[in-house]
């Protein structure tokens, strides 16, 4: 038993962090126009060249052949760098397309799998606005919130029953929404029995729980990034002739943020291993992980604003971007309440 990443896994993390810090400094995001994506299609192909989109996909399907643990570790870094959720959709979309390629329209889906893995296809996240009215299967109906539709080719929608790819051209009337997160575009749409390009049922590949876990990884990235920024600021910023980090009021905020990071990171590792093993408790642990992630990332990001004082409230610093992204990710692949209900309904885990 060793819950820490292996040397090889740590290398993946270090390389990803190095690349992201060099290529996607958050300062750039502050210069973007509202709704303008941080990653262009060129960026997406560069990311794909690194093998990130197929990192956890089996080699037989054109993936890199690592597992869920490596995927989760990578997504912590993507979350820290605030890369958009469309990358998560690409990772899951490749799995849907790859599985779909073994069915009816094999040739077309094989081609789509290739374009997703090579970064030539962008996938927007479609979140059911009410889980009761949304129906996701070979045919899709319901009302959705769509992120990053701008230059996307497909929308990915997912619930506990399965995950579907829908061609964006099949969606008729998108109603643009001004998004809380200025680095993401958003729109709503209503689908009335639209045929999906591909659908995969949970029994075949559980993308709902995989997506929830990776979303939790993105949120851990936010929790850790806001802790780091807060600690750095508290060491530097002086009031009353002292660094504010020497005051217990600030120090104790930071300590609580650090515990949330430790708790969430431990839970992410644990849930990744359990879900990858297909353990009975794997889903319980994913529910736990996503529920904690939503709660902790929001608490850390919100506390970071307070620690940064008046400057934290401005758009001259990047803290607000974490607060806003945490709100977007809170709703993806099941919210906190949904996951809490699900974990409470389960028998005592092993």
């Amino acid at each position: 038993m060793d819950l820490l990443p292996s040397q090889e896994q740590q290398q993946i993390v270090d390389a990803a962090r190095h690349f992201l810090e060099g290529e996607f400094p958050l300062a750039d995001a502050l210069q973007l126009a509202e709704g303008e994506s941080r990653i262009t299609r060129e960026h997406l192909t560069r990311i794909a060249e690194l093998g990130w989109i197929g990192i956890g996909l089996e080699e037989a399907w054109g993936g890199v052949g690592y597992g869920l643990c490596e995927e989760a570790l990578l997504f912590v870094e993507l979350g820290r760098a605030l890369l958009p959720p469309s990358i998560l959709c690409s990772v899951l979309g490749a799995r849907i397309a790859a599985a779909g390629s073994t069915r009816g329209d094999a040739a077309e889906m094989g081609r789509v799998t290739g374009t997703i893995l090579s970064g030539h296809c962008k996938i927007a996240a479609a979140v059911p606005r009410t889980s009761t009215s949304a129906s996701i299967g070979d045919v899709v109906s319901g009302e959705f919130m769509l992120y990053e539709a701008g230059d996307a080719d497909f929308a990915l929608m997912c619930n506990t029953g399965g995950a579907a790819l829908v061609s964006l051209s099949a969606l008729k009337s998108l109603t643009p929404v001004s998004c809380i997160d200025p680095t993401l575009s958003a729109a709503t749409f209503a689908a009335d029995a639209i045929e999906a390009s591909a659908f995969i049922a949970t029994a075949q590949d559980d993308l709902y729980h995989r997506g929830a876990l990776l979303c939790a990884a993105l949120l851990l990235g936010i929790a850790e990034a806001t802790l780091q920024r807060s600690v750095d600021y508290a060491k530097e910023r002086e009031q009353y002739g002292k660094p504010i980090g020497s005051f217990q009021a600030i120090k104790h905020y930071c300590a609580d943020m650090a515990i949330r990071c430790e708790s969430l990171r431990a839970m992410l590792y644990y849930a990744s291993v359990k879900l990858a093993q297909g353990d009975d408790s794997g889903r319980f642990d994913v529910h736990t992980c996503k529920a904690l992630a939503v709660n902790y990332a929001q608490l850390n990001a919100n506390t970071a604003v307070q620690i940064h004082g008046g400057m934290g409230y401005t758009q001259e610093m990047d803290i607000h971007l974490f607060v806003k992204r945490a709100q977007v990710l809170a709703g993806l692949f099941g919210g906190e309440r949904q996951h809490l209900r699900d974990l409470l309904a389960q028998p005592r885990p092993d």
Binding site: M1, D2, L3, L4, P5, S6, Q9, C69, V231, A234, K235, K242, P243, G245, S246, Q248, I250, K251, H252, C254, A255, D256, A258, I259, E262, S263, L264, R265, A266, M267, Y269, Y270, A271, S272, V273, K274, Q277, F284, D285, H287, T288, A291, L292, N295, R337, L340, R341, L343, L344, R348, P349
Partner: protein, 387 residues
């Protein structure tokens, strides 16, 4: 990242499970006092005879010399079958013993370690003083060296189990002129030493396990000094890292049982409006959140063990576990009272163990370092924030 146990570890778990199944006493531990002491020592003797005392202690002092993972497996099985808690044995097994293993000389190890494992002695602690709580380094209990003895005068407080203990790990000031962290000595004291007076303190949960201990010219041989004269601060810091590192592993694991018991309670207790407590959204939300956080406590414990395997000493991250667990425990017991409704005020069988547990839970965020001290340690030693 893996959670796999080797075939040997799986076999070890089977042996632990079988032995516990056959040997865990059926009767409940009697309340604290002389009967509690007798029960605790008898159980320790059973563990010793069965070859399960001191799982990770060196073999030459009666331990089993097993690794951290075997300790973890043992504790998980131990908790699962509801075996007796450490109670009076806590200090010797988790604090005094490990400190003597880490800092004691050969004679001290041979003298003091085996009786702990054999269930012959109970240990207690003399650290805090009326004027030195969170600011432990300001302690004033004075020890004057005279020949091969020290003569101790002063007082200690919050000494758990003092009336029922045989030995005490005591911090005294041996050099009042040195900088405050450098004039302190860690010494072993006999609790039947002449010149001592022990006053029980009644706590808010009704227990009398806490004490104030007075020392009037108490003579202690210098050979009882552990880790060298005036080096007591370093020795006690090593000890506190056990206390905040691995010493609470049993209670971290036990917390899983507590939340599951509370969920069961919520499924069987009806609220004033006739619904089962778990059907109430507000209660269900809190139960689920606690279940999630306690699941992560288990993951944190495993992550901590994995980290300790790569490092020599438990790091300051142990403070996070201590803080997290103690605050969670308080929330669990407070929620239990909410679920009990009007029955919450009953201190007998009507409300079960919960009201007393609620009252007792306040000790968890005070003893072994307050939550505020823990947050200072995390801020300064884990995050590098200025003092």
């Amino acid at each position: 990242m893996n959670l796999d146990f080797s075939p040997e570890q799986v076999e070890f778990r089977e042996r632990v499970r079988d032995w516990l199944h056959d040997n865990v006493p059926a009767e409940k531990r009697p309340p604290d006092g002389a009967e509690g002491r007798a029960f605790d020592l008898a159980w320790q003797q059973t563990l010793y005879r069965g070859g399960w005392a001191g799982i990770n202690w060196p073999k030459e002092y009666g331990g089993q010399g097993l690794d951290t993972f075997q300790q973890l497996i043992f504790l998980m099985e131990y908790s699962r079958c509801g075996a007796p808690g450490d109670h009076y044995r806590f200090n010797g097994l988790n604090l005094a013993g490990p400190t003597i293993i880490a800092c004691g000389d050969e004679a001290q190890k041979a003298t003091y370690l085996p009786p702990i494992l054999k269930g012959e002695v109970i240990w207690c602690q003399g650290f805090s003083e009326p004027g030195a709580g969170s600011d432990l380094a300001s302690l004033k209990t004075r020890a004057v060296i005279e020949g091969d003895e020290m003569i101790v005068t002063g007082s200690k407080i919050w000494t758990s189990w003092a009336r029922f203990a045989d030995w005490q790990q005591l911090l005294v000031r041996t050099d009042p002129d040195a900088p405050r962290h450098q004039g302190i000595t860690w010494v072993i004291n006999r609790m039947d030493n002449p010149g001592m007076d022990i006053r029980p303190i009644r706590d808010m949960a009704g227990g009398t396990d806490l004490h104030e201990v007075f020392y009037d010219q108490v003579r202690i041989p210098l050979q009882n000094v552990v880790g060298g004269l005036n080096n007591g601060w370093k020795v006690s810091m090593a000890q506190l890292s056990f206390e905040r590192g691995t010493a609470f592993m049993p209670s971290q694991i036990e917390t899983q049982n507590t939340i599951e018991a509370l969920i069961e309670l919520a499924k069987t207790r009806r609220l004033e409006d006739g619904r089962y407590a778990i059907e109430d959204d507000h209660i269900a939300y809190q139960l689920a959140t606690l279940r999630a956080e306690i699941r992560s406590l288990l993951a944190m414990t495993l992550l901590g063990i994995s980290r300790n395997e790569r490092l020599a000493m438990p790091g300051p991250e142990g403070s996070m576990l201590k803080l997290f667990q103690s605050e969670l425990y308080k929330r669990i017991t407070a929620l239990a009272l909410d679920i009990l409704g009007p029955d919450r005020t009953a201190l007998d069988e009507l409300a079960g163990r919960w009201p007393r547990a609620f009252l007792g839970s306040f000790a968890n965020t005070l003893g072994g370092g307050t939550s505020e001290v823990m947050r200072n340690i995390i801020g300064e030693r884990c995050l590098g924030l200025p003092r």
